[in-house]
């Protein structure tokens, strides 16, 4: 109760915070297991998103630089060849975290999506367009050999799109964590101005460059990579140093932005568990950065010596950071989730009472000694009441009129009900009801023909 009351105190805003009702179905797995699946699958997806975006940025940079220095054009081509594979894997791996977050944070995720709907759904066509442009760029290197401006423009457009898409995701994931903002947000533009969106976005961009730097180091260090043929003008050592430099500088930038990300997070989700995890992750990154720095000082024979240690340490850092993100989310939403649960349970209780009451009413109706016409009235209500009333003109004519027309002629009335003609030009055509059973038809027509007697 103290936590709930503290939530009340911290939410002194003009716009109330909604407490939606949850879906009354159990989780398919224990919550802790779903959380593990979410964190791991998201990080796996994120690595390839980083490589896709980082690769695109580097290709663009290299190709522009290649306008003056031909060897950079070749470098751009080699980097470009990795983008399409990485993005395919990124998309495929993206389904699992999407599935997991849907399960774990159903109401929160959907509320955020609904509030930014048009931009959220735009992700699909945007991704498709960006990917097709990437393929177009990749396979037209020779075609546009003499028209570099067009060729670079294709990649430029794809790059802009690929820069925007993660921004959409970040905005929605951020909005999901703050139900107290749902009442104030109107569409994507207002959602993206919430605290933490931009700092986290820039943090993500530098992470992309860092991961891509390490990837290129590995990719072009492979023994079966025909370096002299593919990249004349560079040495393997050149590229390795560039990879390390990029990774190191990007990591330093992340270190500088990290505190801003932390400080712009609303305090409701910050606990000692979060701080401990974040700083442990940072501690893992420091020796990795130091090794990269030392690697840049060393000779070409030794530059790759600590590479795998760097990768392992950075991986650990990423896992801790991803866990920190989840911890913040859990901390931030826990009080509100309790209220949602309370409300859902209350509704379920009320619902059960209503169902019991409804069944009692039905039982009372069924236990009564019903006449033929009373049974017919039930059939009437189930099949005819949408268009016909007892005494008044409605979509169709009143029952009293039917009784007059078919007085003492039940058989013709039955025929009409099964295959109706059309008597009134301005009224809609009545559908046929051949599926009504003979027994029900008998009670129904009894009700109709005796309407004037009641």
């Amino acid at each position: 109760m103290k936590m709930i009351n503290s939530l009340l105190i911290s939410l002194q805003t003009n716009i109330p915070t909604p407490v939606p009702k949850d879906i009354p179905l159990p989780l398919p797995l224990p919550e802790w297991l779903l959380i593990i699946i979410l964190v791991i699958s998201f990080l796996a997806h994120l690595v390839f998103v980083n490589l896709m975006l980082g690769g695109t940025l580097l290709t663009l940079w290299s190709q522009i630089k290649g306008l003056k220095d031909k060897k950079y054009d070749l470098l751009a081509k080699e980097i470009a060849s990795t983008i399409t594979v990485n993005k395919s894997i990124a998309v495929v791996l993206g389904v699992a975290p999407l599935l997991s977050i849907n399960v774990l944070y159903t109401v929160y995720f959907y509320s955020a999506n609904a509030l930014t709907g048009l931009v959220w759904i735009a992700v699909i066509p945007l991704v498709t367009i960006a990917f097709l442009l990437t393929y177009l760029h990749k396979y037209t290197w020779k075609v546009f050999e003499n028209n570099k401006a067009v060729h670079i423009s294709i990649l430029g457009i794809a790059t802009v799109i690929l820069l925007f898409i993660p921004f959409i995701f970040l905005t929605n994931i951020n909005l999901m964590m703050f139900p107290e903002k749902w009442g104030a947000v109107k569409g994507f533009l207002s959602a993206m101005t919430l605290p933490n969106v931009f700092p986290r976005y820039f943090h993500f961009l530098f992470a992309s460059l860092a991961v891509t730097g390490l990837f290129l180091f590995w990719y072009m260090s492979r023994k079966n990579y025909d370096f002299e043929k593919l990249l004349p003008g560079f040495t393997r050592y050149d590229i390795q140093r560039k990879g390390y430099s990029l990774a190191l500088i990007a990591s330093i930038c992340q270190m500088l932005i990290g505190p801003v990300v932390l400080l712009t997070l609303p305090t409701k989700g910050i606990g000692w568990n979060l701080i401990l995890v974040i700083f442990t992750g940072v501690a893992m990154a420091l020796p990795a950065m130091w090794m990269m720095w030392k690697g840049l000082q060393t000779s070409k024979e030794n530059i790759g010596k600590n590479f795998y240690k760097v990768v392992i340490l950075m991986t650990i850092t990423v896992v801790f950071m991803g866990s920190g993100r989840q911890i913040y989310r859990a901390n931030a939403l826990e009080p509100h989730q309790k209220l949602v649960k309370l409300r859902t349970e209350e509704f379920e209780k009320i619902k059960k009472e209503a169902i019991v009451k409804s069944k009692q009413q039905q039982a009372a109706e069924n236990s009564a000694d019903l006449s033929l016409a009373d049974k017919g009235k039930k059939v009437f209500n189930q099949n005819c009441a949408a268009c016909h009333k007892d005494k008044d003109q409605f979509i169709g004519p009143p029952v009293t009129e039917m009784a007059s027309i078919y007085k003492d002629n039940k058989q013709d009335l039955i025929k009409w009900i099964k295959v109706p003609g059309k008597k009134r030009p301005n009224a809609p055509q009545m559908p046929g009801f051949p599926q009504i059973s003979d027994e029900d038809m008998n009670t129904l027509t009894e009700y109709i023909l005796t309407i004037n007697e009641s």
Binding site: S88, L115, G117, P431
Partner: protein
């Protein structure tokens, strides 16, 4: 698409090996053409194909969030399985495509690559086998509710008919698409063009009879599933008309494919790319047509026997019809209807009960529907609409029942009349924002909880 195209490409790749001379690993010119076909398929599969899968998630969770939320919890393992299978397939396709060039270095590597292609063909088919079972399970009305066991997907009556249809259909589609690609990638009048057209024509002719047979089997199996969900002539009438059209589409699609294939087999020189564009589109539309059937079968539910297409649970209806839907809504500006707020209440009811399928003035406008039903554009009668809506589901079987109480039906009728008079457009949450039910704010829920706790303390 991968189900049909991978075996076609593998088969053609193997033909290249057979065509090669004794001093060659494979017929390089031929191999280059087949590689280009695979490249197009690769781009489509990894770009549009991969995204349509994700796109379904995005659009469904936006348009129908409560149903997706419920389905995820119920079918989590089904979707996890489907995703795992899908990831495997995409990775295998990438391996097959990206190792193609390297495999031309030695005969042994080439043979291994072709063998991998056949393996991938089988894997793709198994993918479809599993996914069709999962879809069948999820489509079976009420089945998950009473017996949530994935194995039911394999034993439901539509499973084998659907598989019998989808498999040859995929092969036929691949053939038509392959024919289009090969005529684009080869020069008119060349020997290689002639040979390629003949080869793919044989492929199409081989699979056409199976497609027709599969379609007939599936066509006959559907009505049983359909009739279980429809009980009035109105629904039957709509479905029956659509269903008849489907029959002609089947005959037309398969016949057209066969005609082209026969011409290709005996008069290969006649076949040009432009002749194939329409048939390819027709064949793809063919599949889409069939998929549409599932939408008919589902109405008025989005989850059979559990959730209506307005996203309200069937089991929740008693409480809504007794107390009103506004009382329990999270986002509404009105919870209790008075003389002064009927119009506003009606708007809230519309947003909750109707807006999933109807607009105010646009597609499937609620005003248009009433005007069309009454056969007039005169002013709609509030009394008539109020009386009609509580029973409208008995006359329009594809519509869910009206969820609210009598006061809400009247408020809704007043609002619809207002829409007709004013021509007003309805804005959504992204423009207007949301109004929060004052009974379900954080403060209100906490106060209620505190009050409950105090009462318990007093005892």
């Amino acid at each position: 698409m991968a189900v049909g195209f991978i075996p076609l490409v593998t088969w053609l790749e193997q033909k290249g090996l057979k065509r090669s001379g004794t001093d060659q690993i494979t017929d390089l010119e031929w191999d280059e053409k087949v590689y280009k076909m695979m490249k197009v398929a690769f781009i489509i599969t990894t770009t549009i194909g991969a995204l349509t899968g994700v796109g379904i998630w995005f659009s469904a969770s936006l348009i129908s969030p409560t149903s997706i939320g419920a389905l995820i919890r119920v079918f989590y393992w089904a979707w996890f399985t489907e995703w795992t299978v899908f990831v495997t397939e995409v990775i295998l396709i990438m391996i097959y495509f990206l190792t193609w060039k390297n495999s031309n270095k030695s005969l042994r590597a080439k043979i291994r690559h072709i063998r991998f292609g056949w393996f991938l063909s089988l894997a793709s088919w198994i993918t479809m086998v599993i996914i069709v079972a999962i879809l069948g399970f999820m489509m079976d009305p009420g089945n998950w509710h009473s017996n949530p066991n994935l194995i039911n997907g394999f034993t439901n009556p539509l499973y084998l008919p659907q598989l019998a249809f989808r498999t040859p259909m995929a092969m036929l589609m691949a053939g038509m698409f392959g024919m289009l690609l090969i005529t684009v990638f080869t020069m008119y009048g060349t020997e290689i063009r002639k040979y390629a057209v003949k080869a793919i024509s044989k492929w199409i002719i081989l699979w056409a009879p199976f497609t027709l047979f599969g379609a007939i089997v599936y066509y006959k199996a559907i009505p049983e599933g359909m009739t279980a969900n429809m009980s009035t002539a109105v629904g039957t009438m709509d479905f029956a008309q659509y269903y008849d059209l489907l029959k002609y589409f089947i005959i037309g699609g398969v016949s057209l494919s066969v005609v082209i294939a026969v011409v290709g087999l005996f008069k290969a020189r006649v076949i040009r790319p432009y002749m194939l564009v329409a048939p390819v589109l027709f064949v793809f539309a063919f599949l889409g047509f069939f998929e549409r059937v599932r939408e008919f079968v589902r109405k008025p539910y989005v989850i059979g026997q559990y959730m209506y297409s307005n996203l309200l649970l069937e089991e929740d209806y008693p409480v809504y019809q007794q107390d009103g839907i506004l009382k329990y809504a999270t986002y509404t500006s009105v919870t209790e209807i008075t003389e002064d707020n009927k119009l506003e209440a009606g708007k809230n009811v519309f947003m909750m009960a109707c807006s999933r399928c109807h607009t105010g003035q646009g597609v499937n406008s609620v005003v248009d529907v009433f005007e069309r039903m009454l056969g007039t554009k005169d002013t709609l009668s509030i009394n008539m609409m109020t009386a009609y809506m509580p029973n409208m589901h008995t006359g329009r079987n594809y519509m869910p029942p009206f969820p609210g109480n009598e006061a809400e039906a009247e408020a809704l009728a007043i609002y619809i009349r207002h829409l007709q008079d004013s021509g007003e457009a309805i804005e959504g949450a992204q423009t207007e924002g949301v109004m929060i039910n004052s009974d379900y704010t954080v403060k209100a829920v906490i106060n209620k909880q505190n009050k409950t706790n105090n009462n318990e303390d007093d005892k």
